[in-house]
Amino acid sequence: MDLSPRPSLRSLRVIVWIVGLLTVPVPFAMLVSGWVPAAWLWWVGSVLATIAITEHDYTSSLLGGAFLAQAALWSALLYVGARTLVGLVTRTTSAHRWRPAIVAVVTALVVMACFDVYWSPVTRRGPRTNIAGVFG
């Protein structure tokens, strides 16, 4: 990851995108509904898809597919969001301020994730919980 005084736009986008995937609560609906990070949707979808394959399980394939589809949708939207945000930062600030601005954005997301901003009815600790409850 390039964190030199003038990082590349690509690396900034990727950093913001990944942090967004891990922290930004996005809505999902599959039997139950809630607000969780898109990364969690990938995780659950992957587990269910694996069970669907190894156990020839129909319900897992349906649910896994639905989770993965929603994960893909939100990942794409978050990428667009990250790209837009980074573009805004790079257009409105000088190059030597890019990194502090992005660090501020990332920090804000991480701090937000420490509060109970998620609604996750399928996790053991919940439904209203923080990032530790979602992934813990």
Partner: protein, 638 residues
């Protein structure tokens, strides 16, 4: 219920019995040697219990963090306090519940399909414990509820996960909970005081259409493994499978099954064909009639008696109705069909009459019971005041209960089973269940008794020995009317008493008694009619203050009448049952919402967990009730 110990030897035969034992000869029939209670009443007494109870051994309950086990459920039924979720990090329950009055009998009926899988996934070291499926169960229990349940209980072709291996059940892991259930029942059974019944729930549900049944055993002699819906997914073949399993278990092994929630069956529960579409044979109908003696007409997932609209003009069918007719309908809007008449027990009774008229076999001669279907391990917790929910409020609770209604708004606290039996022993209660001398209640302990005969004394209600007199000339609820004397028409005596309640929670007076009649006309078409036979209607406004839920002084403590069927047709197959209504009271939601100070006129002030308070499709009152088992009349009997 008596607090003294039973006499283990019948008083009339102590010498003979002792002599036989000394000689090592066991020739006396079991009935002679059966224990009798000091308070045994040959005219029979009313007992209340719960025949549908889930504990932590049920997969779905465990995914809602229920931790009470069968022994805890029996302790609770006997009046002890137990903890329920949520639990603190140190395992301490944050809520405690206790019955105001103990029950007389209870059957723990955990879902049998996933006994082994759940044991495997929750016991370190067992083969399969580290499988991805088990990891899913431990990490995301609510998600596992859908995934794992649907594989075994939501399809017509249930299968087990690969870690279970071949053979019935899920390897040896299935034995552990099944033995725990038997041991708990054995240890908690106290003849003459409290009766336990060994049982389990058969949980078949193709496409999410509920075909569930509770299987109860007469004695401690039970099959080595329960016959679950994975082993036998077709309910028409279940009697044969259980008979075979019982034959191996021992001579006293005998089972009956109690279907429930036909309201969620998508019309499948009372169909006369197998899951593959082939018609059930008369022999299979006969077997089912001998095996399914009862139906659970009321429980927390609604009332299954009858549905409003359609063929019925019975306006009181609109009681604790679910707005969908299958489990899928609950979770998928596209599948949320309103239940039609074929989902209800009254339809089954009519189908039974029609089949009997056509083929001489009634496949659905069903007596009535109610139960809770608690998933907290809390049998008999039917109080609308402070209802703790039937499970974990439908979602994981973490270390604090989500603020709001403690159950889905369309659910209710459930009902109880009433049984007329000579004494509180497993033998007497099971015999009563088998002969259908039972009634269902929607929660309150209303006591209701009927006798039906061809020449009942019209002054029976004035007689202090009503039961003694009526039992001579009539048959009790659940029976089939004997041969009709020429020119006679049936009379029914109905005697009902309100639930007295307790000092801190007094019971509710009665409003009226109704007789529900069904018959098959000469044209082969089913008909039904409801007669008000005692008491009279009371409006909500006359009965209860909805702002405070305070009751107004209306209703009556007892009702009794001798009713003669004015439209009796001796050529028509018919059934009759009594429905006893309390005056209206606040529904559990109304109480919870009032206690929380919810103002539906200020929508912005309503917290998310209380949105259900303002659901205008839900009634604010409930007319609690009891349903007696029917009596049947068949012209061919003559």
């Amino acid at each position: 219920v008596s607090g003294t110990l039973p006499r283990r030897i019948p008083p009339a035969t102590p010498f003979v019995h002792t002599l036989l034992l000394c000689l090592g000869v066991w020739i006396a029939p079991p009935s002679l040697l059966a224990a009798q209670c000091p308070d045994r009443d040959p005219l029979r007494r009313p007992f209340f219990g719960d025949l549908h109870v889930h504990t932590a051994l049920s997969f779905d309950a465990a995914t809602q963090d229920t931790r009470n086990r069968p022994a805890d459920a029996y302790r609770f039924a006997r009046g002890e306090a137990v903890g329920v979720q949520p639990y603190a990090a140190d395992g301490r329950p944050l809520r405690t519940v206790r019955l105001r009055r103990p029950l007389d009998f209870t059957a723990v009926t955990d879902h049998a399909e996933l006994f082994g899988e759940q044991t495997t996934c929750s016991t370190t070291g067992l083969p399969g414990h580290d499988s991805l499926v088990c990891r899913l169960y431990r990490r995301w229990p609510r998600l596992a509820y859908f995934v794992i349940n649907s594989r075994t209980s939501g399809t017509s072709h249930p299968t087990r996960y690969s870690f279970c291996g071949p053979g019935p059940g899920c390897g040896d892991a299935t034995l552990t909970p099944w033995r725990e259930i038997q041991t708990a029942a054995l240890e908690a059974n106290a003849p003459c005081q409290f009766t336990t019944i060994v049982g389990y729930e058969w949980t078949g549900g193709p496409d999410g259409k509920n075909l569930h049944r509770n299987v109860l055993f007469a004695t401690a002699e039970v099959p080595a493994l329960p016959v679950s819906a994975v082993e036998e997914p077709d309910p028409w073949r279940l009697p044969e499978r259980l008979t075979a399993a019982c034959a191996v278990a021992g001579p006293s092994c005998r089972a009956l099954a109690i279907p429930h929630n036909s309201n969620l069956s998508g019309g499948l529960m009372w169909r006369l064909d197998h899951l593959d579409g082939t018609a059930a044979t008369p022999a299979e109908m006969q077997a089912r009639a001998g095996f399914e003696r009862l139906v659970e007409v009321m429980q927390h997932k609604g009332d299954s008696e009858c549905g409003p609209g359609g063929a019925t003009e019975d306006e009181l069918c609109g009681f604790e109705k679910l707005p969908y007719d299958s489990f899928r309908g609950k979770y998928q809007t596209s599948q949320a069909h309103r239940p039609d008449a074929t989902n209800y027990v009254r339809h089954a009774l009519s189908v039974g009459l029609r089949e009997e008229a056509r083929h001489g076999v009634n496949p659905f001669p069903l007596g009535f019971v109610g139960s809770t279907d608690t998933h907290l391990g809390t049998p008999g917790a039917v109080d609308e005041r402070g209802y703790p929910g039937h499970g974990g409020a439908g979602m994981p609770s973490g270390d604090s209960m989500p603020a709001g209604l403690q159950d889905d708004v369309e659910y209710n606290p459930g009902g109880l089973a009433g049984v007329w039996a000579e004494e509180n022993t497993r033998e007497a209660l099971f015999a009563a269940l088998y002969r259908r001398e039972t009634w269902a209640t929607s929660g309150p302990r209303l006591v209701v008794r009927t006798f039906t005969g061809w020449g009942l004394d019209p002054d029976l209600c004035r007689q202090p020995d009503l039961a003694a007199r009526a039992s001579v000339s009539g048959v009790p609820m659940g029976a089939i009317l004997p041969k009709r004397p020429n020119g006679a028409r049936p009379q029914i005596v109905v005697s009902a008493a309100m639930d007295p309640g307790t000092a801190e929670a007094p019971g509710t007076p009665l409003e009226r008694v109704q007789i529900v009649k069904g018959w098959v006309g000469a044209d082969g078409v089913s008909h039904e009619r409801v007669y008000d036979v005692a008491g009279g209607a009371v409006t909500d406004a006359d009965s209860v203050d909805l702002a405070t839920c305070a009751q107004r002084p209306v209703g009556t403590p007892t009702l009794c009448t001798v009713w003669s069927d004015p439209e009796f047709d001796p050529a028509a197959h018919a059934f009759w049952y009594a429905r006893v209504l309390e005056v209206p009271t606040c529904r559990w939601t109304t109480r919870a919402c009032a206690a929380a100070g919810i103002r539906c006129d200020l929508p912005a002030s309503v917290p998310p967990g209380y949105v259900g308070c303002c659901d205008v499709t839900q009634p604010r009152t409930a007319r609690e009730r009891a349903w007696t088992s029917p009596v049947w009349y068949a012209p061919t009997a003559n």
